[in-house]
Every structure is written in C-alpha cells, then in structure tokens.
Symmetry: C2
Subunit: 212 residues, 2 copies
DNA sequence: CTGGATCCCTCACGATACTG
DNA sequence: CAGTATCGTGAGGGATCCAG
C-alpha cells in the first residue's frame, strides 16, 4: 500500500493516495447511506472484482476512512462504515457527481445504477430554493433500485428502499432525460418512460426540484 | 480510451472516468494557475512519465476538460489550459486538498511541491474570517518553488513566481508544521525552518491566516 | 531545445475459482 | 457470506529516441 505514491507534499496528492485509486470513491459512495456488508458492496458495484474491493477496504481502513465492524451476536455480520473523517468526503463526492452528470450521455445497455448512486445523484441535483414550502415524499423505482426522498421546505432527506410516499415513480435510466429537461414529465408518462402512482402533480414538479 | 469504464449510470462514476485516472487531477491542479507547456507540466509533476502525461492530456482534451492551444507566432509554443468546464473542478480540488492535508505527515526526502501544489494548499487552508481588515502581500520561497499571495480583507489572490511583497518567507516543507500549529513562527525562525525578510509581524500572523 | 512518441518491464487490475 | 488464491492482461513507470 502507498507503494504507488506520488511523492508530492500536497494535500490533494495525499487525498488521491488515500481514496483516488480505482473504485475507491465509488466504494465510499456506497457507504454514504450507511453501513454495508461486503455482499451489499459487490451488488452496488457490479463490476468490481472481489479482491479489488477487499484491497480498497483494507487500504481505506488503514487510512482511517472506513471502519470494519463486527455486529454483536447473534448477527455476527461484518459491516463496513465510514468514519467521521471519511464522511467528510460527502461534499466532495456530491460536487464531483454534479459535475460529472453533465457529461452523462444516454444510458448504455450495460449501465447499472445502485441505490447509493441514485441517492447521490438526487442529492447532488437537488435545488433547495425550488422546494420552498413543499413537503412531500417521493418513492423512486428504477428496476430493482428503490429509494425514497423526503422534501421538506428546502431540506432533502433520502434513503434506500421504499417509504410511505405521497407519490411513487416507476421509471428507468431515462429519468435523467427528465431531470435534464429533455423530456417533460407528461411526455415521459406517454412514452412509457415513467409510471406514477399517487399525487401526479408532484411528478410534474420533479424536474424542477432535481435539475441537471 | 474510456475502455476502462465503470459501466455505471452515475455522475460520480462518469466524473472519475473523465478525470479520476492516475495523475488526472494532479494535471488539473497544475493547470489551475494558468496555461502551461508540456515541459512545465513535467516539472510540476516530477514523477509522471511523459507518455502518461500525454495520454491524460489527450483524454481530458477529448472530455472537454482541457484545451490544447498553439500560441500565435513568433512564439508558436503549445500550451494546455483548462476549459470553463474543467475550471469548475477547482472547488472540488480545493476541498479534496484540505481533506488530504490532514493526513499529510512529515515530509519525506523524496517529496516535492510544485508552485501549483503550494498555491492550491494555500487557497485550501485560507481562513477569510481571520483576514478581516488585513491587506498584505506574502512571497513564499520553498526551495525553487516561489509563489505569492495577496490578502485583502477576507479575499485571497495567489500566483506563481515572486511579487512585490510586504514580507518574504523562505522556508521548506516544514512550513506545514507551522500551518498546523505544531511549530510557532518564532520557533521556526529559531530552528532555521524559516527566514523572513520584511514585516515580521505578518509572519507571526501567517498560521492564523492559513491553518490546517 | 521543446513536444512528444516508442520500447520494455513491472505491477495493479480484472476474471474466475476456491476456501473457512 | 466473506473473503483469499491464482493467473492473464493492460495501464503505468522509466528510459530512450526522434521530429520540428
């Protein structure tokens, strides 16, 4: 570890040594919503080889970014979670995600999107100033990826899995086009790019709340 | 290019495909102060192989992050500069640098620090609220690395090379210890970790303005 | 001299199989 | 489930070479 060094006395270079190796920041992305098991991580990061995941977790643990914890009995499960230091990267990942989203073209067939990826995307695109006075819970379903988002007057709270929602949106990766303003919510419904259950007005407002 | 894909439909993954490969963000760091020639880049990034630098520049040019430009005659020199899109990463690099600085230990003998690295470090550690009412120009000399910083009532402006400064500080990588509060400015002078010409009170105030 | 391109070697990554 | 073991490939590292 750290064998692959930049040999620069620079905070940025150091940061990249800690979390800049391949898959590193994506592992952190997966851990932002909360502690996860090894298996959960491999499911969120479909293409990561298990030995690489293992290596990254060990390196980041040593770097003080990630903590390995064994749950108390009877569970006994092993989970990984971000340390406080690691969690401070949240803001960086948010900004990087927003920046990179502008270069996201049309989805390819092999593209996947984990719950953690979708949550980061939602948070990175949320516009508090357009959510004034609104209080609503969205449930989003993209294939097997299910997440929810609570908007409360400029504040956003998100989580993996379903929720007791005011509106449930079932869509796919074409959801990006809606958020980019390339496809209107109404057209998305007509094209079958989205199906909505519940308060349909909230769906109309969706691309205003989360805009690329 | 992009053969090394994450196959994830996620802004963060896309960003990492564009600038997350080895040396990528460090090249951007070098370009933040302004356009640079290939040779300048190899000098700022001492350990980068020329073929890797060449590859990163080409990839980032294609990604719309970097622009290759040939200066008008008689210069005819080739320079690389950030596009507007690339410059938007400034804030990300700043935050990553600040985060990583906390994991910077003592400098190793082989460690270097380019002007661009030092400038990013200064900007990332600057505390505007501690610079109220102050107007001063610092010149910093760390070996061959010379930069300057103008503080003007909460605003900071930096640049490579010397300047007409109120105070000139000649130090080395031990400067980090001063900014971390591990070594007082007075002790640094006594230990020979720093030499100061000009307004010595500005040196006393330095670790307050730029703190880890 | 700058601005790279080329060559070769090594090692990290990727794929897969396997174990406690 | 939580990883480790093995092995092939290709990107990165280092040196050299070449064209303008």
């Amino acid at each position: 570890m750290a064998a692959r060094n930049y040999a620069e006395y620079c905070g940025l270079a150091r940061a990249l040594e800690l979390v800049g190796e391949r898959w590193g920041m994506l592992v952190i992305r997966e851990l932002i919503p909360g502690p996860k098991r090894f298996k959960d991580l491999t499911q969120g990061l479909r293409r990561i080889p298990s030995n690489v995941l293992s290596a990254r977790l060990k390196e980041m643990e040593q770097a003080g970014v990630v903590e390995r914890r064994v749950l108390p009995r009877p569970s006994g499960a092993v989970v990984y979670e971000l340390t406080d230091y690691g969690r401070e990267l949240d803001d960086v990942l948010l900004k990087l995600a927003r920046w990179g989203t502008r270069s996201l073209g049309e989805p390819r067939d092999e593209d996947t999107s984990s719950p953690a990826a979708l949550l980061l995307g939602l948070r990175s695109l949320f516009r508090p100033e357009h959510a004034r006075g609104l209080r609503a819970t969205y449930e989003l379903r993209l294939g097997e990826t299910v997440v929810h988002a609570r908007v409360d007057d400029g504040a956003l709270e998100v989580g993996e899995g379903p929720a007791d929602a005011d509106v449930t949106i079932e869509s796919d990766l074409r959801l990006r086009a809606v958020m980019a303003g390339e496809l209107s919510p109404a057209d998305a419904l007509r094209d079958g790019a989205a199906r909505v259950q519940g308060d349909e007005a909230l769906w109309e407002r969706f691309p205003e709340l989360f805009a690329i």
